[in-house]
């Protein structure tokens, strides 16, 4: 049954794969997965012995333990000695999930949980704790035959990350990779191969210390660690942040350049996501625009946010400007003065959420209010059209929001409200609020936590109805880093909705939508427009985030304020990633300014500005925005972005802890922070 020993050759592997695939009971002829080093932990002797036998029959290399402590010891003694761990859930000396956490933190091996318990809760717990699979007892040998896939998958993802991060390190793994790649191709249908090829082409992304083990012990990016990372990156500047320097700055013993590189990779992706999708041309919603033309004027004079100038300079796509203005007009007073305490990272976080939520709601409404939708039309975002439309809708609200966002100081909500009233079809707002926007973005994130923040900020629109905007979602991209499994907070959970103290701006909903769209779309709004293009990332999250923020703002005049804050925070947030995004930075300042102006001036235009701002900022550097967003519109709070991000992440992490994180959709393996006590 064993194939030619060569093993590593693609051919032989291929054939072995074929054989394997065929479902033969024959143990894998080739090396892999035969010889897979499995550690099985179960306090039940009967089960343990059966499992051991089954695994042996699969040609795996089995070690068994009947106690979790023993298992950990074995793992620690020989970090690279195992490929995968199978553990029972119920054990007397240590809870299986705890063991799972430890392993994830220390060795980052794939862990399969097992139990006679098949209750949904328990299985969910397994998922949230990061188990790569969950087997129900009695375990059949068939179930064990394929456990190698988890090992392969994990490695593959790691490599992918490495590749992306661009850290080119030697490829010792190359041979192994090829083997695995071939092997896994049967499972992954060629993905592996392609990624492998990529790897080859890129000349190896990561240098595995131990080539003999397919898996390198991975660092678990705890909240603290991530904070350090973010701080280092910010210090260096996203453009200049190279793994080596980051590593030096972080000065964490045991952390390798590869770890940092892969983390940076993910982080960049996250930032990208935050900044929104590729900027589309910002086509102002025609319908939207029309009614608002008159308000255009004020728009221009939005605090500091000279949209027109921006437009003129090409930074702000004209369309976006128009859209923004329209939005602002619609909202006017909506939230012009939402003080956004950017300083408070949590706020930022919450901003994110409301935005997201908003966006979500928007999406739903998209259909309802196409008019508005257009606002964001031009905004380049990876948003789905639906989102886009919703964004548009929110754009109006966003306009308001933006206004709010910008002004840190409590901007009078009156402005916002006026904006909102202006032309915002309440219906939209309503819809937004009412519709549970399913976070299509898939960013379930900390809705609750965020909402809380939002409200604290300042009467931020409680009504962020957008269900479940996961601000986090946006952050999730970032946060997801650490939170890997961060459960995406269900959109519904956007607690932002509950913005306290929000005066009811009916237009809110609409506002949000627009706002969201703005935010999401960002692209169009701010100079970062171009930048956004760069980040063709699933901006869903991103947008959602924005949406959430905006949504809140738009809710009421208060919300406007809140939104602004949100926006600011979002911006900040955005800024952060955007900071990372190359070249984004510069636009940020502009944006922030715009934002501020928006905030300060209760003019409708502000909102738009804000929105744009937000968007831009997101793309750019929320950091900048932050600084600016602070009531003084001084973009000096760029730092805030960073800060915000970290906080956001932390917040997310915390949130995630409390939330059953859905599998990290971003597939950040390394960031299974959930469940890791922060």
């Amino acid at each position: 049954m064993k194939n030619s020993s060569g093993g590593k050759g693609s051919m032989s592997t291929a054939s072995s794969i074929t054989t394997w695939k065929a479902g033969d009971v024959v143990p894998v002829p080739d090396q892999f997965p035969a010889g897979l080093r499995v550690l099985v932990v179960d306090d039940d002797p009967t089960c343990l012995i059966i499992l051991e036998k089954m695994l042996r029959n699969c040609s795996y290399d089995v070690t068994k333990c009947n106690r979790a402590e023993t298992a950990l010891l074995k793992l620690r003694e020989n970090r690279n000695g195992f490929d995968i761990v199978i553990s029972d859930v119920h054990m007397p000396d240590m809870d299986g999930f705890k063991l799972l956490e430890h392993i994830g933190l220390e060795m980052d091996l794939p862990v399969i949980m097992m139990s006679a318990d098949d209750g949904k809760d328990v299985v969910m717990k397994g998922v949230t704790h990061g188990a790569c699979d969950y087997l129900i007892k009695p375990v059949r040998i068939e179930a064990l035959k394929n456990i190698w896939q988890h090992v392969v998958r994990k490695r593959k993802n790691e490599w992918k990350d490495l590749e992306q991060s661009g850290s080119v390190e030697e490829g010792d793994r190359q041979p192994k990779q090829s083997e695995d790649a071939d092997y896994s191709s049967s499972v992954n249908e060629g993905n592996w191969k392609s990624s492998k090829k990529r790897k080859d082409d890129e000349d190896e992304t990561e240098d595995r210390d131990d080539t003999s083990t397919l898996k390198k012990p991975r660092v678990v990016w705890s909240v603290e660690l991530h904070q350090q990372f973010v701080a280092a990156v910010n210090q260096l500047g996203i453009d200049k942040a190279v793994p080596k320097k980051i590593l030096e700055l972080m000065n964490v013993p045991g952390l390798t350049r590869e770890n940092v590189a892969s983390h940076l990779q993910k982080y960049r992706l996250y930032l990208r996501r935050l900044s929104g999708v590729s900027p589309h041309s910002c086509n102002p919603n025609n319908s939207f625009m029309n009614p608002q033309d008159e308000t255009f004027g004020p728009l221009s004079s939005v605090h500091g946010l000279d949209l027109q100038t921006l437009t003129a300079t090409g930074q702000l796509p004209a369309q976006c400007l128009a859209t923004l203005q329209a939005a602002v007009l619609g909202r006017s007073t909506a939230k012009s003065s939402i003080p956004m305490p950017l300083v408070n990272q949590r706020n930022i976080f919450s901003f994110e959420n409301p935005k997201l939520r908003f966006g979500e709601g928007q999406q739903q409404h998209v259909n309802n209010n196409n008019k508005q939708v257009n606002l964001l039309h031009g905004i380049p975002t990876t948003m789905e059209s639906k989102q886009l439309t919703s964004l548009r809708r929110t754009s109006q609200s966003i306009g308001n929001v933006s206004m709010q966002v910008a002004p840190h100081g409590a901007q009078s909500s009156q402005n916002n409200s006026s904006l909102i009233e202006m032309g915002q079809p309440l219906s939209r707002v309503q819809i937004l609020n009412d519709s549970t926007v399913p976070l299509s973005v898939g960013q379930p994130i900390v809705p609750n936590g965020i909402a809380a923040n939002v409200s604290t900020r300042n009467g931020i629109p409680e009504n962020i109805r957008a269900p479940g905007y996961n601000l986090v979602s946006q952050t999730s991209s970032i946060l997801n880093f650490p939170m890997n499994h961060a459960s995406e907070l269900p959109v519904d959970s956007f607690s932002l909705r509950s913005t306290p103290g929000m005066s009811d701006h009916t237009s809110k909903g609409a506002f949000h939508e627009d706002f969201n769209s703005e935010i999401k779309g960002s692209g169009g709004f701010l100079p970062t427009y171009d930048v956004f293009n760069d980040y063709q990332y699933k901006s869903q999250n991103w947008e959602l985030q924005n949406a959430g923020m905006i949504l809140e703002d738009s809710q009421h005049s208060n919300s406007l304020q809140g939104n602004l804050d949100l926006a600011q925070s979002v911006l900040v947030q955005q800024g952060f990633p955007s900071g990372q995004i190359n070249g984004q930075n510069r636009s940020v300042p502009i944006v922030s300014k715009a934002m501020f102006s928006a905030g300060d001036s209760t003019e409708p235009g502000n909102l738009l500005n804000v929105n744009h701002h937000l968007n831009t900022i997101r793309a750019e550097n929320t950091v900048r925005v932050k600084s600016g967003s602070v009531a003084d519109g001084n973009p000096s709070n760029l730092f805030a972005d960073h800060f915000g991000q970290e906080d956001l992440m932390i917040a997310l992490l915390k949130q995630q802890q409390g939330i059953a994180p859905a599998e990290n959709e971003f597939d950040f393996d390394g960031y299974s922070l959930d469940n890791i006590p922060v």
């Binding site: 306090d43 009967t46 059966i50 036998k53 089954m54 029959n57 006679a116 007892k137 009695p138 040998i141």
Partner: protein
């Protein structure tokens, strides 16, 4: 021939155990694990199970006898028993454990006691069944024959 007869008896007996619910498909899995390198695998595992279950049952008796019954602990034991019995395919024992756990959840001591008795009973019954089974197998082996594999349509 006697051997053939014994073999046939074994097959029939095993089938009846499945029919009566004493054993389920998992037992087949167990049997499949037995091979030349582990000729007594099934016997070893089953023996291990009964050893273990006896301990668990004793613990349960003690636990239920306490003035303040610790249901969590009881649930944990029963859960384990459920796991191990299901692993060897002792279906009726497993089912009795499930029922036991339900009573545990609602903290019904009487119900638990009844269930405990039932679990004990089922364990006892299936133990006897296994003993008969093994005896038949030994006879076959002693006669130079090979134990027929049961093909059941599971």
């Amino acid at each position: 021939m006697e051997l053939v007869q014994i073999q046939r008896s074994l097959v029939d007996y095993t089938k009846s155990l499945f029919m009566e619910g004493f054993l389920d498909a998992q037992f087949l899995q167990l049997q499949q694990l037995q091979d030349d390198s582990n000729p007594d695998f099934v016997f070893e595992v089953v023996s291990l199970f009964f050893e273990d279950s006896e301990k668990l049952l004793n613990e349960l008796i003690i636990a239920l006898d306490q003035p303040n019954v610790d249901f969590k602990k009881i649930d944990s034991h029963v859960h384990q028993l459920k796991g191990s019995s299901s692993s060897i395919g002792a279906q009726r024992v497993k089912n009795a454990c499930i029922a036991f756990r339900n009573y545990c959840d609602v903290q019904n001591i009487e119900g638990c006691l009844t269930c405990l008795q039932q679990v004990k009973q089922e364990c006892y019954l299936v133990k006897n069944k296994f003993e008969t089974l093994f005896r038949l197998e030994q006879q076959i082996m002693a006669s130079g024959g090979s134990v027929p594999t049961i093909e059941l349509g599971f």
